[in-house]
Every structure is written in C-alpha cells, then in structure tokens.
Symmetry: C2
C-alpha cells in the first residue's frame, strides 16, 4: 500500500517544507524536532530524509527560498520612470510581499542566529542583494537631486525596517486596508528621503 | 557549606534572570529548560524555584522588567520644549536605550508568541503605553501645525519600527558612532513627520 510514485513525493516535499515553516514560526527552530515535522504531515520519521535535508539544511532552504522568491518578484515588479517611481514601487511591493508571508518573514529575521556560519553567509548575501536594490534607487535619486539624503546606507536600513514592521501589527479586516496602509507608508517614506 | 544568606539569595535571583535572558535570546524560550538556566549559574535545579517563578512566569518577568524600565527611563528623559524637541528626545532615547539591551529587545519582540494570554495582555498593555507616549507627541505636533501627518497611529508604529531596527545591524566600532546614527535617524524621522 506504500505510495512511492513521483507525484506523491513531489507533493510531500513542499508539504513538509510548509509544515516546517509553520512549526518554526510558532515554536522556534530549536524547539522543533524533525519527528514533529514528519508527524505534522503524516510521514514516517525514517522516510523524512527522502524528502528534505537535515534540520539545519531545512532552515537554510526555507530562508533561501524566501529570499530568492523576494528577489525574483522584485525583479519582475514594474518600477515606473525614475527614482521616485521606483521608490514608490519598492514601498508598495515590500509591504505587499511581506504581508502575504508572515511566517517566512518571522523566520527570516528571527532564526538567523540558528544558521551555521556557511549558511549564514549565503543568506546574508541574498538579503544584502535585496538591500542593494533599494540603495541603488536611493543613490540614483540623490545623484539626480530628487532625494535629500545624507546617508543612503542608513536610509536603506531605516526604510526596510519601517516597512517590514507592518507585518508585526497588520491584520486583515482591521481599521485600514493593506492598500491604504501602503499609501500612508509611501507618504512617510517619500518625506523621509526628502522628496 | 551551603550559603543561604540573604545577600547570596539577593544576588542569585538577578544572576538567574540574566542567564535566562541570555539563553532565551540565543536559543529561544521554547528550547531552554529551567535546568539549563540553573546550570548556567551553578544552582541546583531543585533550589531554582526559591529564586524565580516557573519558566512562563520568568519570561513574563523579563519582558515586564524590560518595559517598566523603558517607561521609567523615558519618563525621566528631558523632553525640551514643544513637540519637535520631544520627538527628537524620543528618537535619541529610543535608539540609545535599545542599543544597550539587545537581548531584552530581541526577546520582547520574538517571544510574545510564547506568553500565555494573561501575560500577553499585560505585556501588550505596557508596550501600548510606551507607544501612546510617542503618539501623544505626534498628535500635539499635528495640532500645533508643526507636523504634517495623515495618521498619527501609523506614524507611531512606523517610527518605532524604524528606530528599533537599528538594534539588528548596529555594532560598536563600526562605520558610524551610536551618536551619529541617532543624528541621522533624527533627520529622517523629522522629515517623515513633515517637520
């Protein structure tokens, strides 16, 4: 009765990843065992390693996928014309993308401490690449005289922290729609960069 | 040879709290046992409950102390004259206070999920009180025509997220001093609120 067809295993891997994401976000990486992840999906603990690497590899995988998806989605995002349009696109994109993935965002920030040095370096490089995307916009805007910014590096970190913060309090059905929140944040970001 | 003097127990409680803070920040609340906390300080596991409550009570204690210290320190902070001075004071205070306590900050944000409902409500109320302190400044500034802000609630959350973000990347001895970072953030906050 064992099902070992290709299609089954192609479904089990993603389901295990989704379960791990949920469990890590709720309990923390260190508190979750591979056995729990297997049980969540109804896979025998012994069969787990057919689908996913060890726990450390799994954590790195989840963070890598999250950041690669982020980078790919931002690459595809229409950016309008010029630095002001691009910054508005970034603001709305960042809020929307992160609000759709609260568990992945939580893990991406919280579990960095649990990556081994090699994985940490790889994940940091991806995160840095995303930050550089924003910093390039800020530099271009400053060079064009559109933004008034003494330090583009700091402004990059400040804007990202401000926008990511939305994930800690936003709830669908609350006082403001995600669209309205993004519009209000865009106004604050625009002013903050002196545009 | 057992030492049970008052002064010893007055030292052991704070040492256990400090060890718990360090261990929770490094490994996460769910992954740390009371036994590990005891071992860190060289106290017998059986004697632990003479000094500190159970693990849940300990977590709530650590968060409560952090927020009560934050509120007390902000109360004592000189705030100058008028909303613009007060906002600058808040910006510099918030960065300084949080940079001095990276472990407590990390736990205050990350381990909310592990508080039981009663403790969560209490901690949220303290955090809300701190946020209200900033929102009162923003409202006063808007009423006085000093700030241009469509939504003081959102601006409060945006400013706090932006400033707290400094704790995730700032390292002493880096490119910028804490003083210089605070000055650059103050410039961004001032612009963001339209002052």
């Amino acid at each position: 009765m064992a099902r070992t067809s290709g299609s089954h295993s192609q479904i089990t891997g993603p389901r295990l990843r989704a379960a791990a994401l949920r469990l890590f976000a709720r309990h923390g990486y260190a508190a979750v065992s591979m056995r729990q992840i297997a049980a969540e999906v109804g896979v025998q603990a012994g069969a787990l390693y057919n689908y996913i690497p060890d726990k450390q590899g799994l954590l790195a995988d989840l963070m890598r996928s999250h950041l690669e998806e982020l980078l790919a989605a931002w690459d595809l995002e229409p950016k309008g014309t010029g630095p002001l349009d691009a910054l508005e696109a970034f603001t709305r994109f960042h809020i929307r993308f992160h609000l759709e993935r609260p568990d992945a965002v939580f893990i991406a920030y919280m579990e960095l401490r649990n990556l081994d040095p090699r994985n940490f370096a790889e994940i940091e490089a991806l995160r840095k690449r995303y930050e550089t995307g924003l910093e390039d916009i800020l530099r271009a805007g400053r060079a064009a005289g559109v933004f008034d910014l003494p330090d583009t590096k700091l402004a990059t970190l400040a804007v990202i922290a401000m926008l990511t913060g939305v994930t800690t309090w936003y709830r669908p059905g609350g006082r403001l729609s995600a669209e309205r929140v993004a519009a209000l944040y865009w106004e604050m970001v625009r002013k903050a960069v002196g545009a």
